[in-house]
């Protein structure tokens, strides 16, 4: 079982800060209509860096 970051869509406001803080390419996908981010779990290394920059506490490793 691999770990990956997960997005709480109730809390995410689509500020995109996590997107520019992730060292891995093509992990976060921005959904402009919903103003949310989505995660490509197979590309996340679960470093947790994005969880430390999200002011809305919308990201958790699990």
């Amino acid at each position: 079982m691999y770990l990956s970051v997960r997005v709480d869509t109730e809390k995410c406001i689509g500020c995109k800060i996590c997107i520019t803080s992730c060292p891995e390419p093509n992990v976060f996908i921005f959904l402009p209509e919903q103003k949310l981010v989505e995660v490509n779990e197979s590309r996340c290394k679960a470093c947790g860096l994005c969880t430390t920059v999200c002011a809305k506490e919308a990201l958790k490793i699990g």
């Binding site: 520019t20 803080s21 093509n26 976060f28 921005f30 470093c47 430390t52």
Partner: protein, 284 residues
């Protein structure tokens, strides 16, 4: 995408890897994307083998997303951690012998000028601190003194990370590493000052803790190198593996260090470069 820049030969669409197809359909060539568009297009970089939470990987990713003209850019790298990611970069790139990157880039830039006299071709060196400030310093300084129109970007992780953690000229005084157990005895080299003294038209120090600033300085450095002369950008990119901090602290560590006055972002622009950038930035 500009027509015909990247296409799959008819009949081969089905068998090309999905990552490649994605790049053809949704890649950044000819589109003038920047870091604000990350998350909405296929990046130039694919899955890489660098460590979880790697500051250098983050700097590299943001740098690639800031290139003003990726389709006409060649990056020249050197041995080190970043070289491990270069095979996953969808750009023309050259792997040079450790430390030779600026000599290779100088020759390449001149050759491209002869081969494509009417076209802009950006040559950007992206290498580690050991390759730039220690073993390659001779070639780096010569390329600046000779006013080669290239951009040099140092991914400064303050160590020889790829070989297990020796101190480099860029490690802080006192830094303890796997292979420097008693701590470094000399202060960190100030390469931005040397770059300025050697005639770089644009010099900046930035970090991925401020992605917009990083994007701005990379873009400016490349534009100035195109028109005026050599440019240098230093990106502080902490290494969780060799400095043994939690991978999720990479960005907070930069901010902490900035607060303590141990890291400062900087920007020096020559008069000529300033006038040029003003004209460019107004046009935009």
């Amino acid at each position: 995408m500009k027509t015909g820049m990247l296409k799959i030969s008819p009949g081969f669409e089905e068998i090309m890897p999905p990552e490649y197809r994605e790049l053809v359909d949704n890649g950044p060539y000819g589109k003038n994307y920047g870091i604000n568009d990350l998350g909405s297009y296929k990046e130039l970089l694919e899955e890489h083998p660098l460590c979880a939470g790697c500051g250098l990987a983050l700097s590299l990713r943001l740098t690639l997303a800031s290139l003003p003209m990726p389709e006409d850019t060649v990056i020249v790298g050197s041995t080190g951690c970043s070289a491990l990611a270069f095979p996953q970069v969808a750009l023309h790139n050259i792997h040079s012998l450790f430390g030779n990157q600026n000599a290779v880039a100088s020759g390449l830039k001149r050759a491209l000028k002869l081969r494509f006299p009417d076209k802009e071709k950006d040559v950007v060196v992206i290498a580690g601190d050991g390759a730039t400030a220690d073993i390659g310093l001779d070639m780096v300084m010569q390329s600046w003194l000779r006013r080669e129109k290239i951009t040099t970007i140092m991914l400064d992780n303050e160590a020889y990370a790829n070989t297990g953690g020796q101190e480099s000229g860029m490690s802080m005084q006192g830094a303890v590493l796997n292979m420097a157990p008693t701590g470094k005895k000399f202060p960190k080299l100030s390469l931005p000052e040397i770059a300025q003294t050697c005639g770089c038209a644009y010099v900046a120090a930035a970090s991925p803790a401020k992605p917009k600033q990083l994007a701005k300085v990379v873009r400016r450095a490349i534009l100035v190198a195109r028109e005026i002369g050599p440019t240098y950008v230093q990106l502080y990119s902490p290494c969780p593996t060799n400095y043994k901090f939690n991978p999720k602290e990479t960005v907070s560590l930069i901010k902490q260090r900035e607060k303590e006055g141990l890291y400062q972002s900087k920007e020096y622009i020559s008069q000529e470069a300033k006038a040029f950038l003003e004209s460019m930035e107004v046009k935009k």
